[in-house]
């Protein structure tokens, strides 16, 4: 971008408070026409709130939104749609049991009472020619991968003649290759088709590679805006967190006397629809070893995690821990010190309505000192322990009695981390630990996992983030179509080979 184009969307001096909490304090964001603008900030910095003010979900307390030089009253999302501002949400808003075409057509803000499907389909086919991605129009949404769904969401917006496209953390569900493809196409489109794009993100790589300008928020305040070619990741990092980031490298201590702790033999599992998700998977993990399972989302990782965590029954095959058959019962988890960091901790490992203290007690509430006289709760001990853990793991919460659902994503993750890693752990199961977390939290979690490994824990790490696996693993396995298809070590790993196996070739 050498020529300076005019602003197409301006949010000026926006302030928004929710009760006591000041979510946005005098924030300004200016988006140029035909450019990609990144909105950068940690979790809770106010990025989503700002965008929701633009989209009309919230009304700002102070400040105004200008669209194409004119002040526009956007009082509801429908207004934004009609103006040509479209948003792709972090979580998909597609109707799973309908086809791609049906989803696209139904998303129009003004639908006729009776839809002339044949005409619509013909029109849709014609317009798909000009789209950056091609998706089979008659495929049901359920048959699509996360990357394809994201593409459908974007196409949906483009077909609505969107002039300003807002993407909320668009790559959090994509593989690195998919992310590069999607963002690359978006970048090209912004230049060629005069599309203005606002990307909410906390990944520097995406900002540096795909954005023209960047605005940084911190704790609801405007920190600054810049052209991307004038900043560097360290500068952005400092703007984002308010001080220099010291990234301590991970310390990997050589393991003495490794012994096999976790063994999976010929595991077969079916998914919710009754389709085989794991077709005879076998692996073993030694003490003091991190085994990483890489793969594209939806190749059986979730089912593997669920079986190990006791959320799903295996069809056949065996899991042994410490040479004993393992069925994910509470007694076995306790005996083998088997702990779990599942993906999406609020969904999989917490009860949002229960307090932080209660959530921290899930592993031990039925043991002394938390339970007395065979089954009476000792609330005092639970609160006491929670206070210790909150302090030790630096969980930011108003207090131990706050419902865990009120905490930010990073602090929910930290709560689960505290619960699962505070005691001695022999076997640790980790799945996508860094989904949707800012990089400060990511570094912290990586340190904790490595520390557990160095203490002799056998770690099975299932992740869709290949960089994470390469950084943490001692041994790397690739899963494809419910089978392990490749084994290597990070030192000998070749990205092209791994990519090939991930894709199932």
């Amino acid at each position: 971008m050498n020529t300076v184009s005019p602003y197409v969307l301006e949010a000026i001096n926006i302030s928004k408070r929710f009760g006591e909490l000041i979510a946005l304090d005098n924030v300004t964001l200016k988006l140029r026409a035909a450019s990609v603008h990144a909105l950068l900030g940690e979790n809770g910095a106010g990025k989503s709130t700002l965008v929701k003010c633009i989209m009309g979900y919230y009304q700002p307390d102070v400040g105004e939104v200008l669209f194409g030089d004119r002040q526009q009253a956007i009082t509801q999302p429908h207004d934004a749609l009609l103006l040509g501002i479209g948003m792709v949400y972090q979580h998909f808003t597609l109707i799973p049991n309908m086809s791609v075409a049906e989803n696209i057509i139904l998303s129009r803000p003004r639908l006729p009472l009776i839809i002339h499907w044949r005409k619509e389909m013909a029109e849709l086919k014609r317009r798909m020619q000009g789209m950056p991605f091609q998706i089979p129009l008659d495929a049901p949404i359920t048959s699509l991968s996360a990357g394809e769904k994201q593409k459908v969401e974007i196409i949906k917006q483009l077909l609505l003649n969107t002039k300003v496209l807002i993407l909320d953390e668009p790559t959090s569900v994509l593989t690195p290759t998919e992310a590069d493809e999607v963002l690359g196409k978006i970048q090209t489109m912004s230049r060629e088709q005069h599309l203005s794009v606002l990307i909410i993100t906390h990944k520097f790589r995406e900002v540096m590679n795909f954005a023209d300008e960047v605005t940084v928020l911190r704790k609801g305040r405007y920190v600054g805006s810049a052209r991307v070619d004038q900043v560097s990741p360290p500068i952005l990092a400092a703007m984002m967190v308010g001080h220099e980031i010291i990234n301590t490298p991970l310390q990997r201590i050589p393991t003495t006397n490794p012994r096999p702790l976790l063994k999976i033999a010929d595991l077969k599992v079916t998914d919710d629809a009754g389709v085989t998700a794991l077709t005879g998977l076998s692996l073993s993990v030694n003490s003091g070893e991190i085994v990483g399972i890489a793969g594209v989302s939806g190749n059986g990782q979730r089912e593997l995690m669920q079986v190990m965590a006791g959320q799903r029954a295996a069809h056949s095959g065996s899991i042994t821990v410490n040479a004993e058959a393992y069925t994910a019962s509470r007694a076995q988890m306790r005996r083998h010190k088997f702990h779990c960091l599942p993906e999406e901790p609020l969904r999989n490992a917490c009860v949002a309505s229960m307090s932080v203290a209660d959530n921290l007690a899930f592993r031990r509430f039925d043991r002394p000192p938390f339970a007395v006289h065979n089954g009476l709760l000792n609330r005092k001990a639970i609160t006491q322990r929670a206070k210790e853990l909150i302090h030790r793991f630096a969980i930011k919460t108003p207090g131990p009695s706050t419902p865990v659902g009120n905490l930010s994503g990073g602090n929910v993750q930290r709560t689960v981390l505290a619960r699962e890693l505070a005691d001695e752990v022999d076997v640790l199961l980790v799945a996508n630990p860094c989904f949707g977390l800012d990089f400060g939290a990511v570094a912290d979690i990586h340190q904790q996992i490595m520390a557990a490994r160095n203490r002799g824990t056998a770690v099975l790490l299932i992740s869709e983030d290949l960089d994470e696996i390469l950084e943490l693993s001692d041994r790397l396995l690739v899963i494809s179509n419910g089978k392990l298809v490749h084994e290597t070590t990070p030192e000998h790993a070749e990205l092209t080979t791994i990519g090939k196996f991930m894709a199932g070739h």
Partner: protein, 347 residues
């Protein structure tokens, strides 16, 4: 704290709103609204006599409400209190008839046991169907109500029918000696004590024991409970059993304290009204007590309405139905009232 405020303010507002709608209904029927409302109060809580009437009706409501409230804490919406109460009452009657002649204390205890066990097993079956076969618990418990009532009718019209009961076909009596007495000189039967004690006991179990903690985990997020290794299926079935047992006990009490024999009075709607009580009480066993008394009062006032205003018996059922719908609708308001919240949406 704001949660607590919310759970008092919202049902209260919903009750007031229901009374407003009901007032419209009364005005439409050509009666003076204030007089009718005053009569409802009079018939429910206006005198010691009406209080006794109210408490007699509140006792089974407390127990049937638990049949919805307990499983709801583990995430199951069960509306089978009516069926569990019928089954409990029927089994208690069978026990009473067959043991008639033995020492009354033994007979009454056996009747209570059989009511509790049969009602418990009835709802435990719902939990088991849910856990092992993934059958929707709301539908299966509703269908089991019809089955229970059909079994009751089958037995009181056939095998168990006392030929002396002509107008209202009933079973043979359990015998006067085996009836539960009243409290002191009142007309309130001992069932009220059962209701109060069981509500208190289950509140303690929910709030103070590891079992209650586990149940709240399962109800709050079943995946989190599984990942913690809880035996989810077993705990759900036990919870269902406890809920069904409470309703079964209600059936036994209706037989042993009121009717003395099994007949269609057993399915007079206490089971369904119990669902309403549980909803208003937000599944809290202690809150069930005042709510059951309130609803019991409304039911108790129906006689007076009939006598004084010539309003049909079903009038109080209309009020009850209005409350039910308003309470269900008010559920959408929880967590949205800004003045109860210290902060807004997380950004």
């Amino acid at each position: 704290m704001h949660n607590f405020m919310e759970s008092i303010a919202i049902p209260t507002a919903a009750l007031v709103f229901s009374l407003l709608i009901f007032s419209g209904f009364v005005a439409f029927s050509g009666n003076n609204v204030l007089e009718v409302l005053a009569a409802i109060y009079q018939g429910a809580f206006g005198s010691w006599f009406s209080w006794q009437n109210t408490l007699v009706r509140a006792a089974p409501l407390m127990l049937t409400a638990l049949c919805t409230a307990l499983p709801a804490r583990s995430g199951l919406i069960i509306i089978g209190g009516e069926g569990a109460m019928v089954v409990g009452g029927l089994c208690a009657t069978l026990t009473g008839i067959s043991l008639n002649g033995l020492p009354p204390f033994f007979v009454i205890s056996s009747m209570a046991c059989s009511g509790v066990l049969s009602g418990g097993a009835w709802i435990a079956a719902v939990g088991a169907l849910k856990h092992y076969r993934n059958v929707n618990e709301t539908i299966s418990s509703l269908l089991l109500n019809y089955i229970a009532i059909a079994i009751l009718n089958f037995l009181i019209l056939g095998l168990l029918r006392d030929p002396a009961t002509l107008n209202k076909p009933s079973s043979f009596p359990i015998g006067d000696a085996n009836m539960l007495g009243t409290i002191g000189t009142t007309s309130i039967h001992a069932g009220l004590i059962f209701g109060l004690v069981v509500c208190g006991l289950l509140w303690f179990v929910i709030r103070r024991t590891t079992f209650g903690f586990s149940i709240d985990m399962i109800g709050g997020n079943i995946r989190a409970a599984q990942i913690s290794g809880l035996a989810v299926g077993k705990l759900i079935i036990i919870t269902c059993f406890l809920g069904g047992a409470a309703a079964g006990l209600a059936g036994m009490i209706e037989i042993a304290a009121v009717h003395g024999r099994a007949n269609t009075s057993l399915n007079a709607g206490y089971g369904y009204a119990g669902i309403l009580v549980a909803f208003i009480a937000r599944y809290n066993p202690l809150a069930i007590i005042p709510v059951a008394i309130l609803l019991g009062g409304i039911r108790a006032s129906s006689g007076l309405l009939q006598r004084s205003f010539d309003l049909p018996d079903a009038t109080t059922l209309v009020l009850q139905g209005i409350i039910f719908i308003v309470i269900l609708a008010s559920g959408a308001v929880y967590g949205r009232l800004n003045w109860f919240k210290p902060k807004g949406d997380s950004p």
